[in-house]
């Protein structure tokens, strides 16, 4: 795991320079049509920050999120994650970065169906090569911390939305990531549950110093963050205070 070891002296966790993303669409008779989604995005996020990314649909915020999460590779530009240039890594290396450095929380929870909460939380460790017993021990510990200790044997469809999202957060945390990427994590939840979930993120950020990047289109959710990045038509149009 030496290659994933982080140089903790670097303040910056995410540094993006001139990031561009162009999708090529095959439109049949016209040949391929290129559609550029991100234009020269520059962004620096330090360790321990809590950043909200906002923008209308089509603004490129999901694309940026996918790039930051190493789920996709940029067309051009650079991306240093924890001091390492990950823009051009091969897929297997990216899988390792996702496994060790990043925790994902999605709008639709994205838990594996018909698998217990405990197994869902433990799954990332399967790919990290951790033994089954150890994985389950750590998973149960995390579920207890998020108040779901009694629900370990439940399957996702037996849990409420808020509980499912807590399971997803536990899963994101299991391999001690430095970064949590949350893509509209409260999009499917009611206001009260949303508040509870956001409180969890806030606590993780404050108590454990985990960097959190959150995509949302709701202002009151963005208000939990300490910094706001607003995108429009693939460009950063605001980077600074949350109240903007």
């Amino acid at each position: 795991m030496a290659s994933v070891q982080i140089d903790s002296s670097t303040e910056s966790l995410i540094r993006v320079e001139n990031l561009c993303k162009t999708y090529s669409l095959d439109s049949g008779i016209n040949g391929t049509v290129n559609s550029q989604v991100l234009y020269d995005v520059n962004l620096n996020i330090n360790r321990g920050e809590f950043v909200a990314i906002m923008g209308h649909s089509g603004s490129g915020k999901s694309t940026l999120m996918n790039l930051l999460g190493c789920l996709d590779t940029p067309s051009s530009g650079h991306y240093w994650l924890a001091g390492r240039d990950v823009a051009a890594l091969p897929e297997n290396e990216l899988a390792r970065v996702r496994n060790h450095t990043i925790g994902f929380v999605f709008q639709g929870f994205n838990l594996l169906k018909r698998m217990t909460a405990l197994d869902n939380v433990a799954t990332p460790l399967l790919y990290a090569g951790v033994s089954r017993a150890e994985s389950r021990r750590r998973a149960l510990e995390l579920l207890r911390q998020t108040g779901l200790g009694n629900f370990a044997a439940y399957q996702p469809n037996q849990l409420s939305g808020g509980q499912q999202q807590r399971v997803a957060i536990s899963r994101a945390l299991i391999n001690n990531p430095q970064l949590i990427l949350a893509d509209e994590p409260t999009g499917n939840l009611d206001t009260q549950t949303s508040g509870e979930i956001m409180a969890v993120f806030e606590r993780l950020n404050r108590e454990q110093g985990i960097t959190i990047v959150l995509v949302t289109h709701e202002n009151d959710i963005a208000a939990y963050a300490h910094r706001l990045v607003r995108l429009k038509d693939g460009r950063v149009i605001h980077d600074g205070g949350v109240t903007a």
Partner: protein
């Protein structure tokens, strides 16, 4: 990434879709069972043929009275008795010949006490038993003295002995053949079916001379029905055949240009043909069965492709939380392999019970070897890997972003 855990994931996925897994497995079960069953039937046929050949005796010719023409009329083989004891003795003196057994046959009614049985009575010389490599199970075969004196002695085949005597020991007892008393000198060991499907154990043997003079009589004294000739070695068979032909043509005073009035049949060549036919049948059965294995494999590929498409989102999630391409490939390949291995095991069991049922129901010899089972199992696994690879690779080649977005 630990393989055991990924096997666990594969098993879990298969359990979630029990019906589908079961049906896919059924294709494999039937394929493997068919291969095992067909191979065992083919092998059984080969064994039967080989046993029949071995029971015939080695390096054997059969010399029969041949197609003769009297004037313009051609008559079928055996219609005229052209072979004589003298011919047999002459053939026996050829250098390439080890032994000759002249044979006459007829059907007769046998009696022992209240039991009676009708069977083929064969008049032979003691050499016959050597040529056929046929020993007694009890008692002795008759001697040259018995032959010279045309003694009323008889050797029984197993089936005939059972029918006349039941559980009694026949040796030393007297039976009646066409109402004449004959002393039973021995009972032959079981020989089984001949190549033409006759039960060789349903027979009795008496001295040739006794047969000619006292049982059958003959229009032409001194003629025989046919003779079995044993060559000295397998290598000298062709040479022996030429010698027999020359000798008999000379003895029968056949001028150049006329047809033989006898037929020499090389049983070794016949045996080779029969063995070859059995082998071809065996191969064909195997080939037909492997088609069903192939169809089973295609079924697996089909289901795995559907499964991969259906689980696109799951694949995306797994990739997002750190599964690399190899982990995904391994999981899906293992799912296909598990289906094949479990299906293969069940198929082997089904094939063996099927073979047993066939041997019971159709009274056929079936042979199951470990190699056969191993072969079927090996092919099942190979089919699993071959047909499972494409869907698994398709799953592993997905881009995480797109897989996650899949509805």
């Amino acid at each position: 990434m630990n393989l055991l855990a990924i096997i666990g994931e594969a098993l879990r996925a298969l359990r979630l879709n029990r019906l589908r897994t079961g049906l896919t497995m059924l294709g494999m079960i039937i394929g493997v069972a068919a291969v095992v069953l067909m191979l065992s039937i083919g092998q059984g046929a080969q064994t039967t043929v080989n046993q029949a050949i071995a029971s015939m005796g080695s390096n054997l010719f059969i010399v029969m009275p041949g197609a003769t023409s009297s004037g313009a009329m051609r008559q079928s083989s055996g219609s005229v008795q052209t072979l004589t004891i003298g011919d047999a003795q002459a053939v026996a003196s050829l250098p390439s010949i080890k032994a000759v057994a002249p044979i006459i046959t007829g059907t007769a009614q046998l009696n022992f006490g209240a039991n009676n049985w009708s069977t083929v009575v064969t008049g032979v010389t003691p050499d016959y038993f050597k040529v056929r490599n046929w020993s007694t199970e009890d008692g002795e075969v008759f001697s040259d003295t018995d032959l010279r004196s045309a003694a009323r002695v008889v050797v029984l085949g197993q089936v005939t002995a059972k029918n006349l005597f039941g559980d009694e020991d026949p040796t030393g007892k007297t039976i009646r053949i066409k109402s004449s008393p004959f002393l039973v000198t021995g009972v032959l060991a079981a020989k089984g079916q001949s190549l033409d499907g006759r039960d060789q154990d349903d027979s009795v043997f008496i001295p040739l001379t006794t047969g000619q003079r006292q049982v059958f009589g003959s229009q032409f004294p001194g003629t025989i029905r046919f003779m079995m000739v044993q060559g000295k070695s397998a290598e000298a068979m062709e040479e022996a055949e030429i010698e027999i032909n020359q000798l008999l043509r000379q003895r029968h005073r056949l001028v150049e240009g006329t047809d033989n009035d006898f037929t020499v049949r090389n049983m070794a060549a016949l045996a080779a043909v029969a063995t070859g036919a059995a082998k071809v049948m065996s191969l064909m059965l195997g080939a037909i069965a492997s088609v069903s294995l192939l169809v089973g494999g295609i079924g697996i590929m089909n289901i795995m492709l559907v499964s991969v498409t259906e689980r696109t989102r799951e694949i995306g999630i797994r990739m997002a939380i750190g599964a690399n391409r190899r982990a995904i490939l391994t999981q899906f390949l293992l799912e296909a392999l598990v289906i094949c291995i479990l299906g293969g095991l069940a198929g082997v069991a089904l094939g063996i019970s099927g073979a047993w049922a066939v041997s019971r129901a159709a009274d056929m010899v079936v042979v199951i070897t470990l190699g056969m089972v191993g072969l079927a199992f090996f092919f099942a696994s190979a089919v699993g890997i071959f047909f499972g690879f494409y869907p698994a690779r398709k799953a592993a080649a997905m881009r995480p972003v797109e897989a996650l977005r899949y509805e």
